[in-house]
Symmetry: C2
Subunit: 239 residues, 2 copies
DNA sequence: AGCTTGACTCGAACGTCGTTCGTCTATAGA
DNA sequence: TCTATAGACGAACGACGTTCGAGTCAAGCT
């Protein structure tokens, strides 16, 4: 089957009759799932930038051309990865009394999933409203917000804003982590170093940055993430 | 001079004695400013993905190797571009009575600047706390927030969150615009098409998405942007 | 049973990318 | 005038995404 047809078939509602058994082959044929699995493994181990058609093909003991029988593009592969990633999120049944916690829970799940595969959120940014599995997540968040009494227009835009922020946050931290590993200890921008840098700035032109260097560099773990998501959620509540 | 030294010199406080006149050459030598100018022109005309060392060199009537006398890396070039871009922002004197409008104004400026050079926010995402010119913008926003009475910790994190969101928003819209141009009318995801897609989804599994397709696809211009920034700013005010 | 069809594999290649090396030129300082 | 050096640049390297075309096999038809 042509990979373009395959891609189209993926977006069609699933055929009611079960798939007619995975056709056996002498040398076991490569499947799309195998490709996605290997790709995710590669990203988890070495980051998204290491996900190359050539390296992926190598992980499957074949050449790069073989992949194009199962995947249209690298963009198509990205879409598959994000789809798989979103499919693993569990969306709670909306509880009007706990909608804030539920929204934050979904965001946390998505954040953790993105960070498990460092840098993959770059692909997620590119297709926020496109992929079907993302629509599923979007639907789940929308349900929670609407259940919580948020006005439909606010809820719709908030879902978009939250998904965008989560992807951006994860992309930023992935870049920061990568810099601290591959660059030879020259980019060591851990918090202490960054804070020292801020305080070393000329206080005349950067008075607030130097004075509040502590606050600017504060935040263990995902405190900054929690703060921002909380800001948006609380804003929705007061709206 | 070695380009690494040049880069280091850029991050040092400017030499009090003025530069000793741009040394003349027979064939006028390339300067860093020329490189940045050409690069920005290229990005403005054809988008960030068209910014290639080779194409940039071509625009300067030379080969790619010549650029490396003035720039360490493509990453270094990105840093220069973002710096130039941020340097053009005008930061208002903090007015405690109008801090919300002032913050939004700075965000709008940054948004417009990013969108003038489509896709360049990808580079901006990678160095939110790094570059000196970004620190200048950060300082300006911090001053406005502190002047408005926002608690220092909230202000510091909010600056970070806002800069991140603005960059992500601009990156997303740049990708969307590019898709609508270079793909041959197959990716026509204008709002009507997107809305039609949402309503065509199976209502059983996506009840809210189909019912509120109008809200999900609503928003002229930067309404979505204004909504999200307003959400964060109002959240700060109520905190 | 033989043949056709079509999905799949894969070696080889194309064009592009960022970057480096070595060489050359022409100026600045002695 | 001589020399040291900053800068320009042709050529090349390795890696990237992608395409082409020949080959290989299983399934379906006659």
């Amino acid at each position: 089957m042509n990979p373009r047809e395959r891609r189209a078939a993926r977006h069609r509602p699933p055929d009611p009759e079960g798939e007619p058994a995975p056709r056996p082959r002498r040398t076991a044929p490569i499947t799309v799932d195998q490709v996605v699995d290997s790709a995710l493994g590669l990203v988890a181990a070495e980051g998204y930038e290491a996900l190359t058609m050539r390296r992926l093909a190598g992980a499957l003991d074949t050449g790069p051309a073989s992949l194009y029988a199962h995947v249209v593009n690298k963009a198509d592969l990205d879409e598959l990865l994000i789809g798989r990633l979103c499919a693993e999120l569990v969306l709670p049944e909306p509880d009007p009394a706990a909608w804030r916690e539920q929204v934050r829970g979904v965001c946390d799940q998505l954040r953790d999933q993105y960070l498990r595969y460092p840098g993959i959120s770059r692909a997620g940014l590119a297709m926020v409203p496109t992929d079907l599995e993302i629509v599923r997540v979007s639907e789940g968040m929308l349900a929670i917000l609407l259940g919580g009494g948020v006005a439909p227009q606010d809820a719709a835009w908030a879902v978009d804003a939250l998904l965008l922020y989560v992807a951006a946050y994860c992309l930023e931290t992935a870049i920061a982590r990568q810099r601290s590993t591959d660059d030879d200890a020259a980019w060591v921008l851990d918090r202490d170093e960054l804070r020292r840098r801020f305080t070393a700035l000329p206080a005349a032109t950067f008075p607030h940055t130097t004075r509040h260097a502590a606050e600017l560099t504060a935040g263990e773990g995902h405190d900054r993430f929690d703060f921002t998501v909380g800001l948006m959620v609380d804003g929705l509540a007061h709206g």
